[in-house]
């Protein structure tokens, strides 16, 4: 079940690639297929991602889902800028969930991020691989840095070249005399101009270049500007449609109860007892669940609640959070798999003047996206329509087809805005989709399956609970010379437990310790746990060796100038340890993830009730270059709040094999009243673009916990903070 997404993609592409060369070389070009199959009268695709209408509208076809991260604006900005399109004439469309719009650029991006450069002659294969693997994923903070940088910009620049070539031929002038501006090609010497719309049909006869000349950043007209998001107006007037809002005619509604103990099957249900209720159409028994189908969701839900449902009992019923932690502890005593081995850590620890050890852990977490999980499915005449919001439309189309044993091309996926993704709507987290498909298979009308919030909290693919044990050694000069870290579970991304600090001896290893609790990607994946562990332990080492936690970190970043600059920017902007109000303290933390480097300073106090109050968070981020600076800020704010909810409140516990929490009443969220001020500092280092959806989430828990230590003298080695009653007594001055 655990798969390393990037390695899987890469391996499959490279291994599969050898068989596909013949196919790729004989295939018609992709944009000509788009023109054949997807263009209405007068419309022209210049690449699969850019369509021009006769009225001079440019439509950017985006192969990513909009879930609040702004890609339906950022990606069109990148294409339109390179194309020199007039932004007021640019529209965005979600790419159809069909093979032609599979996103091969993502594979190249992930390969490059792993240091593998795939040559251009493999492009055809890569796209074929993307089709075979149904790649239209929105995840890994990858949209702008991979699809945008290597796809949208290239598409825009290639289209501009095709348009200029077309105009040059019509006017019989050299291309060098022509420029593209505001959706026109101009011949300034004669004052003549064509609109893109007038040129598009002829331009589409050229083959788009795979290596067009891209703009120097100094020539950008859209990239780098805070352009208002295209999706926002519909999200303030109630017209934005999410999957849960789909209303195909004749639709029925299904409410579902799955075995609360994961993996256990249905034994019996007294279905007949609810059939007389108003609006109830049928009770559907699935292998591990019961669904009530009715003409209104509330009627279905009420009838479901009235049923007496019995699930089997298995050894899974014995599992608890305590038993899982005991299992983890035992696993860490056993054989470990190597992650990083540098120097001779064993010898360094043996010879160290001081050795410090600590054990950290964090609980399971649910995603709790605001839009409850849902999926509407309609089987009719050998075809199938699916209405749902997903982080991989092509992948979900494939999933439904495989469950129904149908050809993928007979399944149409209708895409929507996502009411939150955070990893919950990825193609390896499909339990809702699977159920909705199986329920709908029993009907010839559309059936909308909606999960209650209770099902959402209790049937998630959770962020795994993790235990992490550290030992560190100092030499007689108070220098950190050894870092040992043993943790549970193989990480995705693999580098999540790699501390950026220069330490001569490092030994990092893990033990697999599977449980029956389903797990999946939760915003920033393994980074959120490990950054809390590592950045808390580093802080602990600073205090234990009598050093300032900021300076201690900075001293170990001599060979990482970008990291040092980000850390410095956060500390300086936050006024590190200067002029703090009485009873307030600051904590700092740093991490690189998804190609971006983030440092955060949290200003914290302890309430009279002994709870943690976060007043202010300064978040410095180096994502290379900001494409839409306001989106950078909003994603940083969002990442901080998401991570802060986890730090303060997030805790899914397992009791008798099932999740104990049920709803927002006992799985609490940060709300307006406890939301800190957030100050985002963007550093334009000019490095390769980094991701934005996830990197601001990992550091916040450690930044807050490190401030709590200064206020209380208590080192927080286990989250969430709500489980503590702190006494706000400074016990140590640094």
């Amino acid at each position: 079940m655990k798969m390393n997404r990037r390695r899987f993609l890469l391996a499959t592409t490279i291994i599969g690639g050898g068989l596909l060369i013949g196919y790729a070389s004989t295939r018609p070009s992709r944009h000509s297929l788009a023109n054949r199959d997807y263009a209405a009268d007068g419309q022209s695709f210049l690449t699969t991602w850019l369509r021009i209408d006769p009225d001079n509208t440019v439509t950017v076809i985006v192969p990513h889902s909009e879930m609040g991260q702004g890609v339906h604006t950022s990606l069109p900005m990148m294409a339109a800028d390179e194309m020199d399109a007039d932004w007021s004439k640019v529209r965005v469309e979600q790419a159809p969930a069909t093979d032609l719009f599979a996103n091969g650029v993502l594979i190249k991006g992930f390969a490059a991020s792993m240091g593998v450069s795939l040559p251009r002659f493999l492009d055809g294969l890569i796209y074929k691989g993307a089709e075979i693997m149904n790649i239209q994923i929105t995840g890994g903070s990858s949209s702008v840095r991979f699809t945008g940088e290597n796809g949208m910009r290239v598409a825009g620049a290639a289209a501009r070249e095709m348009l200029i070539k077309t105009a040059a031929a019509r006017w019989d002038v050299p291309e060098s005399e022509l420029t593209a501006r505001m959706s026109h090609v101009h011949h300034d010497a004669t004052g003549r101009a064509f609109t893109f719309g007038e040129l598009a049909t002829d331009a589409a006869r050229f083959e788009p270049s795979a290596q067009p000349v891209l703009k120097d950043p100094s020539a950008f007209t859209l990239m780098g500007r805070s352009i208002p998001r295209i999706d926002i107006p519909a999200k303030v007037d109630g017209s934005a449609e999410f999957g849960i809002d789909a209303q195909p005619p004749g639709m029925l509604y299904a409410a579902v109860k799955t075995s609360p103990v994961f993996g256990n099957n249905l034994v019996a249900v007294n279905s007949a007892s609810v059939m007389q209720r108003r609006g109830i159409v049928r009770v559907v028994e699935l292998e591990d669940a019961v669904a009530v189908v009715a003409d209104n969701y509330w009627r279905a839900k009420e009838a479901l609640a009235a049923l007496d449902i019995r699930f089997e009992e298995t050894e899974n019923n014995q599992v608890s959070t305590q038993s899982i932690y005991a299992q983890y502890d035992a696993a860490l005593q056993g054989k470990l798999d190597e992650d990083v081995e540098e120097g001779d850590t064993r010898a360094a620890l043996a010879g160290a003047a001081t050795v410090i050890d600590a054990t950290y852990r964090v609980p399971y977490l649910a995603h709790a996206a605001m839009e409850p999980m849902n999926c509407t499915v309609h089987f009719h005449n050998g075809k199938c329509d699916v209405w749902t919001g997903t982080q991989d439309n092509l992948g979900i189309r494939g999933r439904v087809a495989s469950i129904a044993d149908m050809n993928e091309n007979d399944v149409t996926l209708h895409a929507f805005y996502l009411g939150g993704g955070f990893g919950r709507r990825l193609p390896n987290a499909t339990n809702t989709i699977d159920q909705a498909t199986r329920i709908a298979q029993q009907f010839d009308v559309p059936v909308k399956t909606i999960w209650s919030r209770e099902e959402d909290i209790q049937q998630d693919y959770y962020r795994p609970a993790v235990t992490s044990k550290f030992r560190a050694g100092f030499d007689t000069n108070n220098r950190l010379i050894a870092w040992e870290n043993h943790y549970i579970g193989q990480n995705e991304p693999a580098e999540a437990a790699h501390t950026p600090y220069s330490i001569p001896n490092k030994s990092i290893a893990f033990a697999e310790s599977p449980t029956h609790v389903p797990f999946g990607a939760w915003r920033s994946v393994a980074h959120s746990q490990h950054t809390f562990f590592m950045e808390s332990f580093v802080d602990e080492l600073a205090h234990r060796s009598g050093q300032n936690p900021y300076q201690f970190r900075l001293d170990m970043l001599a060979d990482k100038p970008r990291h040092a600059a980000v850390l410095r920017a956060a500390a300086e902007r936050a006024g590190w340890e200067r002029n703090l109000p009485e009873g307030h303290a600051q904590g700092i933390a740093l991490q690189e993830s998804f190609g971006s480097i983030v440092a955060q300073v949290a200003e914290v106090s302890i309430t009279p009730a002994g709870q943690v109050r976060v007043h202010r968070v300064t978040c410095a981020i180096d994502c290379g270059r900001a494409i839409n600076p306001d989106t950078v800020a909003s994603q940083a704010e969002s990442g901080v709040i998401f991570g802060l909810t986890a730090a303060l409140y997030g805790e899914i516990t397992i009791e008798q094999g099932r999740v104990a929490q049920t709803n927002f009443t006992d799985y609490e969220m940060v709300r307006l009243a406890d939301s800190p001020e957030i100050d985002v500092v963007t550093i334009e280092s000019g490095a390769s673009l980094g991701g934005l959806g996830e990197p601001a989430t990992p550091p916040i828990a450690a930044a807050v916990a490190n401030a709590v230590y200064i206020l209380t003298g208590q080192r927080v080695r286990e989250l969430p903070l709500k489980n503590y009653r702190f006494a706000a007594v400074p016990t140590e001055n640094v």
Binding site: N296, G419, L672
Partner: protein, 154 residues
């Protein structure tokens, strides 16, 4: 039979009196701007205005709104005419929504607050706006509210 006005239009629905207003709006009337979030009045995604007061429609049976005037996000938009309601305008100005799912409820709660209390203190705002936003748009929510109030901070 349940009778109430929604966005200025009289409705008479042949539904159970205990059906929550949320599902009457969404499944019986097709007004999907009002969102289902938790079903237990804990998140505010389903907030509508009943006679101008913010109400969590997921736990409000239609029998309790008999004869009232209900405003949903669709009505707030329509009532504002060509321009959006000032709260909606501020939401665009400050680029508040991210995924957007909670924002109908958030906007209905804020517009009800500012109608009854045009100069809320921070404590008033914290007490009234308890909606959950999983994307964490809170800093912008506060900024957008503050742009509409006479008081600066409190």
């Amino acid at each position: 039979m349940a009778r109430f006005r929604v966005n200025g239009v009289e409705h008479e629905l042949d539904i159970e009196p205990e059906m929550p207003l949320l599902w009457a709006l969404r499944d019986e009337m097709g007004l999907t701007g009002t969102k289902f979030g938790c079903g237990v009045a804990a998140c505010g995604a389903c907030t509508v205005q009943v006679n101008g007061n913010p109400v969590r429609s997921c736990v409000t049976p239609v029998s309790a709104v008999e004869g009232t005037e209900i405003t949903t996000i669709e009505g707030l938009t329509a009532n504002a005419g060509a321009l959006l309601n000032p709260v909606q305008q501020a939401w665009i100005e400050h680029q508040v929504p991210q995924c957007g799912y909670c924002q109908s409820g958030m906007i209905m709660a804020v517009s009800a607050l500012l109608t009854s209390n045009p100069s809320p203190s921070d404590a008033d705002i914290d007490g009234a706006i308890t909606n959950v936003c999983r994307c964490g748009t809170y800093p912008r929510v506060r900024r957008a509210i503050r742009s509409l109030t006479s008081a600066t901070t409190a």
